[in-house]
């Protein structure tokens, strides 16, 4: 799964793309009297993970370089995200959005707490997950109990819920979508749309 990135990356990349560059021609420091200033490679001691760009549907593979070993008190930090040279789709290349995925993952605007806005309130307040799940489940149940139709006007079993809608999913994996489907059909929700249809 993870490999330490090294020169090997480059060699596999070259092999994969048939690129003509080789380590020797890039001016290795040894032959270069004035190379002492060159900064150490920032991905030198990172762990590399394989992932897929979350933006458009070209499906570019990316390598995520992280620091930190995920020990109990360590949240590994993403140092850099770069195109995966082995992917036949992108061969290491990325578009301007993909090339800055690190900014996206580590944006200072990421949500890190459950936010709650009470009816009529002008501000968000924080909520714990436990409180949030309790409240949300209660709201859903109340609406479902009010709106669930076991039989339609003609007496046919329809088991549907039409006063709650669900949207989303196209930003997430198949598996999440499958779970959302079970959630949806478990509740009986029919109004369910996603970005693929807009």
């Amino acid at each position: 799964m993870s490999k330490n990135s090294s020169r090997r990356d480059f060699i596999t990349r070259s092999a994969a793309t048939g690129a003509s560059t080789a380590a020797t021609l890039t001016g290795a420091p040894a032959e270069n009297a004035s190379a002492a200033h060159i900064a150490p490679l920032k991905t030198a001691n990172t762990t590399k993970y394989t992932s897929i760009c979350p933006y458009c549907a070209v499906g570019c593979s990316v390598n995520i370089h992280t620091l930190g070993d995920k020990a109990r008190n360590v949240r590994s930090a993403i140092v850099h995200i770069e195109g995966d040279p082995e992917s036949p789709i992108n061969r290491g290349t990325l578009c301007p959005k993909g090339a800055s995925l690190e900014e996206f993952v580590q944006s200072d605007r990421r949500l890190t707490k459950v936010r709650y806005r009470a009816p009529g309130a002008r501000e968000w307040t924080d909520l714990s997950w436990e409180e949030a799940f309790g409240k949300m489940a209660a709201r859903i149940k109340a609406s479902r109990d009010a709106g669930f139709e076991e039989k339609d006007a003609e007496g046919r079993t329809v088991n549907r819920l039409e006063n709650v809608a669900m949207i989303g999913g196209c930003t997430d994996t198949n598996e999440i979508n499958y779970l959302l489907g079970k959630f949806r059909f478990g509740l009986g929700i029919l109004a369910y749309e996603n970005q693929s249809r807009l």
Partner: protein
């Protein structure tokens, strides 16, 4: 062995991936700009923005065309910045031809800005030092391509041995000519001894359309300063010092007793 970048502008789609890859790899601080009436990210390069795609709407043979081309350090064989730099070791030309700034040695005088015929280096107001594309010397040192090259989706950018790239640029030029672009050609200006960033242009007779100077060269005043003026200065300074010394040796100090007085009375009253 000299390495180079080949920019085939005929394959550039102006996606700006190279801009971002450069920013990201080099940990640049991002700046939010104001609207400047164009698709171009910003009007010009900046100390924290080393690689700019220029967008130029032009008409060619009566048809709309949109020329996009990459603007960054050209890594000249004879670099104007090096010629102009007064701080020893601040700009170095590596064995592979890369022209790189060594910021420990940079004094921030900005002479390189003046010396550069492509107007590339930029002064940081914060550090008071000058910055530009390093050809990702940290990457190339370990056998990786520069970040911009690696990310380029359309193979508009390639990296490799300079001679080889020149050959493929020639092949590409022939292809373009066969495809009806009679003016196609390579941009590798001789005035700076050739550049290690080579362009293929659909119309090489008008490099200005791509934002490239037609005949760039190291400015003659920079050459004058670094060449003849140094000799002249040395002559003047050494001449003055030695002249004074030998004057003293030969004539000694002025002495009213020995040397007689000038005419006592003014010959002509002013």
């Amino acid at each position: 062995m000299i390495v180079a970048k080949l920019i085939d502008t005929t394959l550039c789609i102006g996606c700006k991936a190279c801009e971002v890859a450069c920013q990201e790899w080099n940990d640049q601080e991002y700046t939010l700009g104001t609207f400047n009436g164009s698709y171009q990210t910003m009007p010009d390069l900046a100390h924290n923005f080393w690689n700019l795609i220029r967008f130029n709407e032009v008409e060619r043979n009566g048809a709309q065309s949109w020329v996009m081309s990459k603007y960054q350090c050209m890594h000249c064989a004879e670099a104007g910045c090096i010629a102009a730099c007064p701080a020893p070791g601040a700009i170095t030309q590596m064995a592979n031809g890369t022209v790189d700034f060594v910021h420990e040695n940079c004094i921030g005088c900005g002479y390189c800005i003046t010396g550069c015929p492509f107007d590339v280096p930029r002064l940081s107001p914060a550090t008071k030092k000058v910055y530009k594309c390093s050809l990702c010397s940290d990457r190339t040192a370990v056998g990786l391509e520069p970040a911009c090259i690696k990310t380029c989706p359309t193979n508009c950018l390639t990296f490799g041995e300079r001679d080889e790239l020149l050959r493929s640029a020639e092949i590409r030029t022939r292809e373009l000519k066969a495809d009806g672009h009679a003016q196609a050609g390579i941009y590798n200006p001789a005035g700076v001894g050739g550049t290690n960033v080579i362009y293929v242009l659909n119309d090489a007779t008008q490099p200005e359309q791509y934002g490239l100077p037609k005949d760039p060269e190291i400015p003659w005043t920079v050459r004058l300063w670094k060449g003849p003026l140094k000799a002249l200065g040395a002559m003047v300074f050494m001449g003055s010092i030695l002249g004074a010394f030998f004057h003293y040796v030969i004539f000694g100090p002025q002495d009213p007793e020995k040397h007689g007085h000038p005419e006592e009375e003014p010959t002509h009253e002013a």
